[in-house]
Amino acid sequence: MSGQSTIHNPQSAISITFTLNGSTISVEVDPAERLLDTLRYRLGLTGTKEGCGEGECGACTVYLDGLPVNSCLVPIYQVRGCQVETVESLDPAMLQPLLASGATQCGACTPGVAMTACWIREHRELLATHSIRELLAGNLCRCTGYDGIVDGIQTSLEVGA
């Protein structure tokens, strides 16, 4: 954990306990603090990125009780007792198809894209009713034009079939 400067008002801090990447942790924190900031600045998990701060770009995607959410829109009090998983929890071997397909360029959207890609892979039943492009539409990427990402997800579905 880095010594990032304080970002909370100590008077209103409360203790919040949740499961992060499989381990139970407690933080003393302003309940209105964004989950994104708790992860990045308090816990040093900087893999989760801030792209827009208003739930449009998906760069800050984490799993909350197994569902992908924008962590910039989640006040930390809402994760009490919940399971939170971040990009740091992903198995790098699962990401190899995305590397080979050119799914990452500048990398700023990439952790969020990787989270969505792995989620699609784990929920392939959704592909009966949705296209990969529809399922990925919550993650903005400005570099790739999305083809590299879509191709990588497609390959990872075939590899892991």
Binding site: S5, G102, C106, A114, I149
Partner: protein, 755 residues
């Protein structure tokens, strides 16, 4: 040119070297660096587009003694951000020229307290008449630059346009308009400043460390030895991190110098969108003399760009814009007049394509208008006019690169199924009550590297060092921002010296360690600087008395032996840019070889327009280009696909809405960029024709894909609907206004489409 220039690309194909670090979130960007003790920095900005600052009030409810506060009086040197003209202040002094102009800087350990403090500062401005529309001549009271608000006037002249126009059997006119575009690099601007002894160290997201170094040297009045600029992994740039980082670096530096502490500034998305540079809006008028067989007899083109409130890079953007304005066509009589206008808008700046996308959009849309007038297939009109080897561009540059540009177009048409689709669209459009389909093309070019004498003036230097363990280190100021520099440089050095990829290290772009190999802009990095990597490898080999045939273990052993005999010394091979033979450019007349080489593109877009919503959907896209030898197919394809996607956004979605000189939609909720669901698969193909002076035969390619799509798409919409759209972004609202009329005309003639 040595035969080794054409040695095969490093094989097998190399995956992006830092790719896994990015996918797993391990890559550390400026906002991710673990810092021990630091202050957050923030900017207080002008609320008005023009006026005199009459009062700055620090509101109640904030303990101001806890804040570091900087204004223009804290700037040690001249209050200018050094670039082309030193007209832009670091912080406003007395008056402001645009909304969001930086006036004050604040720093505090708590980011929330800082946000409240910024909101508690009230800046009063006595308003003065502002120039807010670059298309109109300025009112006398709004003139603030020279006698006419013209920031830069440039012209190109070839032959006798007036005479050729007068003699032409057909003259076709058109006016075309393009809007501002926000870069939306996913990582916002960010910088950290810190004193390390008497050296001020800046670390941050940037394309051009030496631009930042120069700006710091001038405004801080500091010796370069007391400055160090280090690029951190950069989450996208697209030109938005070419010149702007000098501003945020200066602000962070001033706060750090005044507080004596480390200071970090990271813009949130809204500030980044509202207060940083964007693509220049442009208005382009064409008057073209045409023979009845479609040959271009005269091109008279006037280009106006909105420069915004300071000069920044507008003269060079205008220059590239007008040089590309006549397109890749042969015409003996060409006149291009270009003006960049001062307005009280946030300064416009570098953005992928750098003026050329605007003029190519106009020219390619105009070609279709000419084709319609003549009743010619737009492809046939282009075939008849595309430059053949031996013919010359508007600046008189004779093209003789062996690329068959007509064959390039025909191959693109074949890949797209152009003929069959046109027939299918005609029957679909006759039958469908709700949708119209069309296909459109664009043929275009993009000059690689700096314009004119630019590369010679840069005199880029690059080092490849031999390390004691036998590896080599590439020392360059060119940076990775997603386009693949790290991978390409590594593969180039490894291939040149016959080494493994793991034998090559790319040095951090740190101005205290790497020479100035020039900025990471202008589609120059792989082609120009990559070739310097190769030449510096050769120079290193010569330093250890090896000839050009030495590779692999022979090289590694020689490097180790050298260090055994010269302990502690630096072993460096150096390359310096040399003007290519046979290239000449006259900056005073704008005649000659504007670029050492051009990339060539032929793009085909297919669209479907929904007549109920007036939404245009791109349903297929073929991007075919000749960019010399392709160094890494995956990276090159990704550059093209990303550029096309960015251009589709510019063409259809991305609209900056202005209110009193400010961007009213500075957030991703209402400034829309394409999602995966808005785009078709972008089909990319290359025709390879190695360029002798580029690294392994490569030409620059990063900007080319920004040039063609907008016109191809609007040409497709015209084919689909019979409308004649001339303005982008072509939003549903804009299309509804113009297409309704066109469709009714078509329907009354009993036709489903007007082609």
């Amino acid at each position: 040119m040595s035969p080794r220039s054409f040695r095969a690309v490093y094989s097998p194909p190399v995956d992006r070297l830092e790719g896994l670090a990015k996918l797993t979130g391990r890559e550390r960007y400026v906002d991710d660096l673990p810092l021990d003790e630091f202050l957050w920095g923030a900017t207080v900005r002008s609320p008005a587009p023009r006026g005199r600052i009459t009062d700055v009030r620090f509101g109640p409810g904030v303990d101001w003694s806890q804040f570091t506060i900087v204004d223009h009086r804290d700037i040690p040197g001249p209050n200018v951000i050094a670039l082309i003209e030193n007209d832009q202040p670091v912080l406003a002094a007395g008056s402001v020229r645009h909304v969001h102009e930086p006036v004050l800087l604040l720093a505090h350990p708590d980011r929330e307290a800082l946000r409240r403090a910024v909101a508690a500062v009230a800046i009063s401005v006595a308003p003065e008449p502002a120039a807010l529309d670059f298309r109109l001549p300025p009112a006398p009271e709004a003139i603030q630059y020279g006698s006419d608000n013209i920031l830069k006037h440039l012209s190109i002249s070839k032959g006798d346009v007036e005479r050729a126009l007068a003699a032409a059997p057909i003259v076709v006119e058109g006016t075309y308009e393009t809007g501002a575009q926000e870069h939306v690099y996913l990582e916002p601007q960010g910088m950290i400043a810190q004193l390390d002894g008497d050296v001020l160290v800046l670390r941050g997201s940037m394309q051009c460390p030496y631009y930042v170094l120069k700006a710091l040297r001038v405004a801080l009045g500091r010796d370069e030895r007391q400055l160090r600029v280090v690029q951190t992994p950069t989450g996208g740039g697209f030109g938005g991190k070419e010149e702007f980082p000098s501003t945020i670096a200066l602000h962070t530096a001033l706060l750090s110098l005044k507080s004596g502490k480390m200071v970090k500034m990271v813009y949130d998305r809204s500030e980044d969108m509202a207060a940083t540079t964007k693509r220049h809006p442009a208005l382009v008028r064409h008057r073209t003399g045409v023979a009845t067989d479609g040959r271009l007899l005269a091109q008279d083109i006037a280009v106006i760009m909105d420069g915004g409130a300071y000069v920044t890079l507008s003269p060079v953007v205008l220059s590239r814009g007008i040089i590309h304005a006549a397109g890749p066509y042969a015409c003996d009589h060409v006149r291009i007049d270009g003006r960049a206008m001062f307005t009280n808008a946030v300064p416009f700046g570098a953005f992928r394509g750098f003026g050329a996308p605007q003029t190519h959009f106009a020219n390619e849309r105009h070609m279709d208008r000419i084709a319609a007038r003549l009743g010619l297939d737009p492809a046939e009109l282009r075939r008849r006019n595309l430059l053949r080897d031996g013919q010359s561009t508007a600046t008189g540059q004779v093209i003789h690169d062996g690329t068959d540009r007509v064959a390039l177009l025909d191959r693109a048409l074949s890949l797209a199924g152009y003929g069959a689709k046109r027939a299918a669209h005609a029957s679909h459009n006759a039958a469908s009550a709700t949708t119209r389909r069309g296909i459109g093309i664009a043929t275009f070019h993009h000059g690689a590297g700096f314009t004119g004498s630019g590369e010679v003036a840069l005199a880029s230097r690059l080092h490849v060092a031999g390390l004691p363990d036998g590896r080599v280190e590439v020392r360059s100021a060119n940076i990775e921002m997603g386009q693949g520099t790290l991978t390409v440089f590594t593969a180039l050095a490894a291939a040149r010296l016959g080494l493994e990829l793991s034998d090559v290290v790319i040095a951090e772009a740190d101005t205290s360690r790497v020479p100035n190999s020039g900025p990471t802009v202008a589609s120059r990095t792989a082609m120009v600087v990559g070739h310097l990597v190769e030449l510096a490898c050769d120079a290193l080999r010569a330093r250890v008395d090896l000839d050009a045939s030495a590779t692999g273990e022979t090289v590694r052993n020689a490097l180790r032996r050298w260090h055994e005999h010269h302990p502690g010394e630096d072993l460096v091979g150096e390359a310096v840019y040399q003007r290519p033979p046979g290239i000449s450019w006259d900056d005073s007349t704008y005649r000659g070889d504007a670029y050492a080489t051009f990339g060539w593109g032929a793009y085909v877009a297919e669209v479907e327009v929904d007549l109920r919503t007036w939404q245009t959907r791109v349903t297929d896209f073929v991007a075919l280009q000749e960019v010399g030898h392709v160094l890494n197919e995956c990276l090159a394809r990704g550059q093209i696909q990303g550029g096309v996607a960015q251009a589709i956004g510019w063409a259809l979605l991305e609209e900056c809405r202005w209110r009193d000189g400010a961007m009213a939609n500075a957030q991703l909720t209402n400034y829309l960029i394409p999602t995966s669901d808005d785009l078709p698969p972008i089909r990319v193909a290359f025709v390879e024709n190695p360029y002798p002076l580029g690294a392994q035969g490569a030409k620059g390619l990063g900007e080319l894909p920004m040039d063609g799509p907008a016109a191809a798409i609007l040409n497709a919409v015209a084919a689909a609907t019979g409308a004649d759209p001339c303005t982008i972004p072509l939003t549903p609202e804009r299309l509804m206004e113009i297409a309704d009329w066109g469709l009714r005309i078509a329907d009354s003639r009993g036709e489903g489409t007007a082609s």
